[in-house]
């Protein structure tokens, strides 16, 4: 995997007329994981979108080297398509071969996406991220809706990605069982 790097410099985020956080900085290299922690509404998802370049920070800047993959509450898979075809659409765009991590979706590949359960949809989103071959994964609540078995599998996949030289940012209000993950408590940056 290519060398990757993600750094935030003095970021502030404003939503509407509310300043959510300010002065937030970190630097992330390949092989490192960052856990964005904090209660609901503190700005975890907004920070993920800022890091993804989808939202302009109110102040500060993001430096990035390496391709991004994002999993958030929007699945970006066609509801009427069978899961296999919906995932294949992104593989064609990303030019990737059959995705590495399977997340136990083999039996669901011919099921239309709209019939998937919450946990199955989350696994599909993670499979899309894993198949994208991007070095930097931005995961917004990746364990929501996953049972203990699949939460463990998902964290194994994340650990494997880190071992392969990738970087991961995880926004989650749940504790993670990942080794060597750095925690960034957004509470400390509340404006």
């Amino acid at each position: 995997m290519q060398a990757c790097h993600l750094a935030a410099r003095d970021i502030a985020c404003r939503r509407g007329d509310r300043l959510l956080f300010k002065g937030l900085s970190f630097s992330l290299q390949g092989g490192e994981a960052l856990h964005l922690a904090g209660p609901n509404g503190i700005g975890k998802s907004s920070l993920i979108r800022i890091l993804a370049g989808l939202l302009r920070p109110f102040a500060g800047a993001v430096d990035r080297e390496g391709a991004l993959a994002l999993s958030d509450e929007r699945l970006a898979l066609d509801g009427h398509q069978p899961l296999g075809a919906a995932l294949a659409f992104w593989r064609r765009i990303d030019g990737s071969a059959e995705g590495g991590a399977d997340f136990g979706l083999e039996d669901l590949l011919d099921v239309p996406v709209r019939y998937l359960s919450t946990g199955q949809r989350k696994r599909a989103a993670l499979a899309r991220v894993a198949a994208s071959q991007a070095a930097i994964w931005l995961l917004d609540e990746p364990l929501n809706g996953l049972d203990t078995q699949w939460a463990a599998v998902a964290q194994d996949r994340i650990a494997a990605h880190l071992a392969g030289g990738g970087a991961v940012v995880i926004a989650s209000h749940q504790p993670l069982a990942l080794a060597g993950v750095r925690e960034l408590a957004l509470r400390e940056y509340v404006a």
Partner: protein
Amino acid sequence: MIARLWPIFTRDLALLLRGAQGRGGAVLPLLFFLAVAMLFPFAVGPDARLLGRTGAGVIWVAALLAAILPLDRLVEPDLEAGFFDQWALRGIAEEALLLVRIVAHWISFGVPLLLAAPLSAGLLSLDAGQLRVVELGLLLGTPGLAAIGVTIAALTAGLRAGAALGGLLAIPLAVPLLIFGAGSLQPGGEGGLLLLAATSLAALAIAPFAGGAAIRAGRE
């Protein structure tokens, strides 16, 4: 870039032609277009001379209304499902995406209109010469209508009542196309076709940038 846009184009086209996920498909605007052409003789009576004089203008109004019909399905569902975010993440410009969508939209609504025009010309007692000008005008004008439609769809995506608002916004923008398109049917109005082509090209040139800016602004 082309290799990445191709799967996006085929997906756009399949969704717009077939209609899925709340998209109506290509059949609805087409039937709507024919329905308007069919209603008009009922309203003004079967006088062939009157129909022949006004019918071509009616075809243009029907085409404009048919173009408005699928507006709320053009951009909104993909924005809502996160597709545009995922494309942005991969560094694919919104402008390229919208240009692809304009082409797909034109194929799914402009081409069926071209095919249906002879039928509506029969309903409205147009002669062969008029039909030829109508077909030429639609060929030149519908790409502009598609461009305006996609721009308005991008602008109103995510707004409440975006569908009704989209129709209201698209009509004034499409007026020049209507004037030149219908005007080209007047005696000695062939110059209208050139102006129609020019207006269509201008709309095509501006639309991807205006729509792209709208989608980016909508993320804030």
